[in-house]
């Protein structure tokens, strides 16, 4: 009994430490004061400021566009990679696909930067950010799709062929409907990862594009304004919502990816 009481209070303290700053951000976004010091009163003023800030809106639009496009491509490629990883039990393939997931982001960011600028001679901008985001999201989608396939009875795919389905019909009528929850979960994860990403975007965006995380960063270099709190709160809500949605679709698959 004593042991578990200690364990409980320690983990409670750890979670408090983790979530308290988030709570503070949310609370101050509604605070009727320019300073993040004391509670004055409730207001939606900072949200109004936020939605009339063209630079912020532009960054938000960029972030949504990047997240949408890279999630789409990452889902397409990641689904194929997940199926291939399951079907052909190659050692190298999982390693290749999953490495970007495990690699420190800063390393990925720097190496992509070097690759784009020095090897490909690219001008950094929207396109390089998209490529970078797709690269690091593919692995997450592949892991979720593969986890979904791993729990399945292999003979149903043979049964489909046996009963007259071509390989394509087998995919469309059997494989795809069965992995669909994994694909959706993967897509949501990719969207979340992309819209949140700072490090990799920072290295690959150049001066051409501004995303929300980059915008927030450049604002807090001056001061943490309540407007930053407001945009952070919105971003947090979106992210949290997507994660919850994703875990609905593939609870076991997400466990495997964590």
């Amino acid at each position: 009994m004593r042991r578990s009481a200690v364990l409980w209070s320690v983990s409670l303290a750890v979670y408090a430490f983790l979530y308290l700053p988030l709570v503070v951000v949310v609370v101050y976004s509604f605070n009727d004061s320019r300073l993040n010091a004391e509670w004055v009163g409730f207001t939606l003023h900072w949200y109004r400021v936020l939605f009339s800030d063209d630079e912020m809106l532009g960054a938000g639009a960029n972030s949504l566009l990047i997240a949408f496009v890279s999630a789409t491509f990452a889902t397409l490629l990641g689904t194929m990679a997940g199926i291939a990883m399951h079907r052909f039990r190659l050692r190298a393939l999982p390693l290749l696909v999953i490495t970007p997931v495990a690699m420190p982001e800063i390393l990925l960011g720097v190496s992509l930067l070097i690759f784009f600028v020095q090897v490909l001679n690219f001008t950094l901008g929207l396109f390089s950010v998209l490529i970078a985001h797709i690269t690091f999201c593919v692995g997450f989608v592949a892991i979720v799709v593969r986890a979904r396939l791993a729990g399945m009875d292999e003979s149903i795919f043979e049964a489909a062929r046996d009963l007259g389905a071509t390989p394509w019909q087998t995919f469309r009528r059997v494989t795809f409907p069965l992995i669909l929850p994994g694909v959706i979960a993967g897509a949501l994860m990719a969207f979340t990862l992309s819209i949140d990403d700072f490090v990799i975007t920072f290295f690959t965006a150049g001066v051409g594009v501004h995303t929300l995380p980059l915008q927030i960063y450049s604002m807090i270099k001056i001061a943490v304004t309540p407007e930053v709190n407001a945009v952070s709160t919105l971003l947090m809500t979106l992210t949290l919502g997507l994660i919850i949605l994703a875990s609905r679709f593939a609870p076991d698959a997400l466990k495997g990816a964590a």
Partner: protein
């Protein structure tokens, strides 16, 4: 012409030969069984017939046409898998409709035939259910309905009753026989249960280590096993070392270890001086109480009851002969309340007719 002809098919995995020169021909309308111990190559052979695997040597012909290079979806052959392999995201009715959809049957016709197929396996009221809501026996029946609904030329069944409990298994055996009779589709049934094979089949191929040991009707397989493996695998049998002393016009004369001179039925190809085993089924051996004035007869030996096993309808007695050889004999318990006729230690006479038993050459 045979429906399916398997010609000298060989399948190797690395250095291991899983199917080693199998030749069979299966006739239209047959209930054909592949019987053999685990790992003898039954599933491997079935997978080559279905088209999931290809032989390294030999050929398979359906209606005289080679199946080489024809993918599974283009073979008029359907399979009932041991794991049932029902599509988990489709309802019972949609599962059964699947092969008809793939064959582009018109929707009205699909509906009609799905209803008909579900009715034949008594599952009409479950048609809107998903597979995970069904019991093992019900899943089995859906798999059967799905395999038969598009009237394949050949239905392959890989140990379809393996996962069912004993009672359900017996019911399903009956249903299988009836279903096969009514739809008239040729069945190739795989099992490692000899009782199931004997009960269901028109013909049985007994397989061992990738080869067919014997191909026969159930009663001939049971009555005239061709070698020790088949004799041992099908039912219970007493096997005693024996030497052929003479080949008479109507019978064989054997010298059997522990018994002495024995008359056995003639068998083609057996010559005087050959060694092997004399095999006789427990139910063919008569068990008599020994008494001094019992007339001595041919094919008779004395011993003592060592042990017995009461299993309800019959009791199996284990008898030890004077030299230590053991034989089993079986007595039906037809009298009510009768569990045994003899006690352990009772002296008895074992006797069998010269028409039963078989000499198996080494």
């Amino acid at each position: 012409m045979a429906l399916l002809e398997i010609r000298n098919v060989v399948r190797r995995f690395a250095s291991f030969t899983a199917v080693d020169g199998v030749s069979l021909s299966i006739e239209v309308g047959e209930f054909f069984t592949l019987l053999g111990p685990s790992g003898c190559g039954k599933t491997t052979l079935l997978r080559m017939i279905a088209g999931f695997d290809a032989p390294d040597e030999g050929d398979l012909l359906l209606d005289g046409q080679s199946l080489r290079g024809i993918p599974p979806e283009q073979r008029p052959i359907h399979t009932v898998f041991q794991s049932y392999a029902l599509f988990p995201h489709l309802t019972v009715a949609e599962n059964v409709a699947f092969p008809l959809r793939m064959a582009k049957v018109v929707p009205d016709e699909i509906r009609r035939r799905v209803q008909e197929a579900l009715a034949s396996v008594h599952l009409l009221e479950k048609q809107k259910h998903l597979p995970h809501e069904l019991s093992g026996g019900q899943k089995q029946r859906v798999a059967l309905a799905r395999g038969l609904v598009n009237r394949p030329r050949l239905l392959l069944l890989d140990e379809p009753l393996g996962a069912l409990d004993a009672k359900l298994r017996e019911d399903m055996q009956m249903e299988l026989i009836n279903l096969q009779k009514t739809v008239g589709v040729t069945f190739i049934f795989v099992t490692h249960s000899q009782a199931e094979a004997l009960a269901l089949s028109h013909r049985i191929a007994v397989m061992n280590q990738g080869r067919v040991e014997q191909l026969d009707e159930p009663s001939r397989l049971y009555g005239f096993p061709r070698n020790r493996f088949v004799a041992d695998f099908i039912g219970k049998i007493n096997m005693l070392d024996a030497t052929v002393t003479a080949v008479a016009a109507d019978r064989l004369l054997l010298e059997v270890a522990g018994v002495g001179a024995v008359s056995a039925p003639l068998k083609a190809g057996v010559q005087s001086g050959q060694t092997g085993v004399f095999a006789v089924r427990p139910e063919q051996v008569q068990l008599l109480a020994e008494h001094a004035d019992a007339p001595a007869a041919a094919n008779e030996v004395r011993g003592r009851i060592l042990d017995f096993l009461y299993i309800g309808d019959v009791t199996t007695y284990l008898v030890q002969l004077s030299d230590g050889t053991r034989l089993e004999a079986l007595l039906p318990n037809s009298a009510p309340g009768r569990a045994k006729f003899f006690e352990a230690g009772d002296p008895v006479i074992l006797r069998w007719s010269a028409e039963v038993g078989v000499f198996l050459h080494e």
